[in-house]
Amino acid sequence: MRITVTVNGEQHTRDVEPRLLLVHFLRDELGLTGTHWGCDTSNCGVCTVWLDGTPVKSCTVLAVMADGHEVRTVEGLAHGAELDPVQQGFIACHGLQCGFCTPGMMMTARWLLDHDADPSEEDVREAISGQMCRCTGYENIVRAIRWAAGHGGARGTADAGTEPAPGREEVRA
């Protein structure tokens, strides 16, 4: 079946089997391996991408369901050469260890901050409750997202500040 999916603003047309999952379409057909593939059972959330502006688990969406729709992946998070404040927050607050859950966490974080300029710790924890970090680095993930909120992240733009996060000397971005 021929489908056309807009991914990070760019249209891609491919012939796919109806049973192809969106996560594999992104990774194997388009080479966008930033979206990770984890549990396959919609539990772990590492495959989280946006579908028409809403974060979903792409292991439980068929690629054909995205035909004619818009997908945003972690590759579409940065603004040109400048990292999104959410990405800067993950660097500043040590929001990743092995990095496997990070793309999905950041896609959810970006969505949260687009809808809530100043989420509480509880709001952040609720938002990421469908995603697992097997390094158990949740504390720093929550700090990273709240850091982003305080550094221009709420606007979804790249004008993040350069104020260092607690315990870090500088922000690399």
Binding site: M1, E17, P18, R19, L20, L21, H24, D40, T41, S42, N43, G45, T48, L51, T54, P55, V56, K57, T60, V61, L62, V64, M65, D67, T108, E126, A127, S129, G130, Q131
Partner: protein
């Protein structure tokens, strides 16, 4: 890698076309909405439909409306939309309570209300919640529309009263002056219920005039505890009677032992959560937070 077996994929552009496609493919076709129950089952080969009829494009089924004295929820309404709906929050706290503990925010962004009911999973929360509310389901098939009382919709695990080529299009619940609540015990955040209970109370002149009790994952016939409901009707809404209603509900259910716990524990939970949901509903009826 878990991948479903091959299937034909059809995208419906109207309810009529979805019904036509269901008729054309016959009993081996399945409707797919959010896909968060069906696709995992297909990956495990627990379901192997020859054709999927995708109804995600049916915007006509995606609204939450107040229609006369009813709340009308389209079958394609996503869980996140039901949770965020102000009218649902105001009149049906049982649905808000349930939605808050259904899976996780990402699953709720995709999974649908209609899909949850049609899946008829014994552990699914909305089946019990809408059963407690005595919802009416509007279905559409080749012969047109009909309504089915939700307590006549669930025939057994994964089995509903939908006939071949019939589609659930809407869930209707009368907006009445009732109070409600839903209480769930889960092993970890986002898991299926070990057991959950929903309660709906109409109170007039200091007496319970109508009661609805829904039970999730407890093996209750058609998700409800009718004897407990009968007991509550006509009595005072007090803790003593709520405790007795819990005992009756526990006696009525037939929980199965599984990895979430032994049958005795689940039966205990069914009783205790029924009592707690009733107390919470009664507190809300008094205008208290619960």
């Amino acid at each position: 890698m878990q991948v479903p077996a091959a299937f034909q994929y059809e995208r419906a552009s109207s309810v009529e076309q979805a019904i036509e496609l269901l008729g054309r493919y016959g009993p081996d076709a399945r409707v797919v909405a959010g896909g968060h129950s069906l696709l995992p089952m297909m990956k495990l080969r627990l379901a192997q439909p020859e054709a999927l009829i995708d109804i995600n494009g049916l915007g006509e089924l995606a609204s939450i409306r107040v229609d006369g004295h009813d709340l009308a929820v389209g079958a394609m309404v996503r869980h996140a939309e039901l949770l965020a709906s102000p009218v649902v929050g105001e009149h049906f706290p049982i649905l808000r309570d349930a939605e808050r503990v259904i899976a996780d925010p990402l699953v709720r962004n995709r999974g649908t209300v209609g899909g949850s009911l049609c899946q008829a999973d014994p552990s699914e929360d909305l089946s019990a919640a809408f059963s407690a509310l005595r919802a009416t389901l509007v279905t559409q098939g080749p012969a047109g529309r009909r309504t089915v009382a939700i307590r006549e919709f669930f025939l057994g695990p994964y089995e509903t009263a939908l006939t071949e080529a019939e589609l659930l299009v809407e869930i209707r619940v009368p907006i009445r002056s009732h109070a409600s609540a839903y209480r769930k015990v889960e092993r970890r955040v986002g898991d299926w219920a070990v057991v959950a209970a929903g309660a709906v109370l109409e109170i007039s002149g200091g007496l319970v005039t109508e009661a609805g009790i829904g039970l999730t994952a407890a093996g209750a016939p058609r998700f409800v505890a009718e004897r407990a409901e009968d007991f509550l009707r006509g009595g005072r809404p007090d803790d003593e009677r709520f405790a007795e209603a819990g005992r009756l509900a526990a006696a009525e259910c037939r929980p199965a032992a599984d990895q979430r716990g032994p049958a005795d524990y689940k039966r205990h939970l069914a009783g205790e959560l029924t009592t707690r949901a009733l107390r919470a509903a009664a507190a809300r009826a008094r205008g208290q937070e619960a």
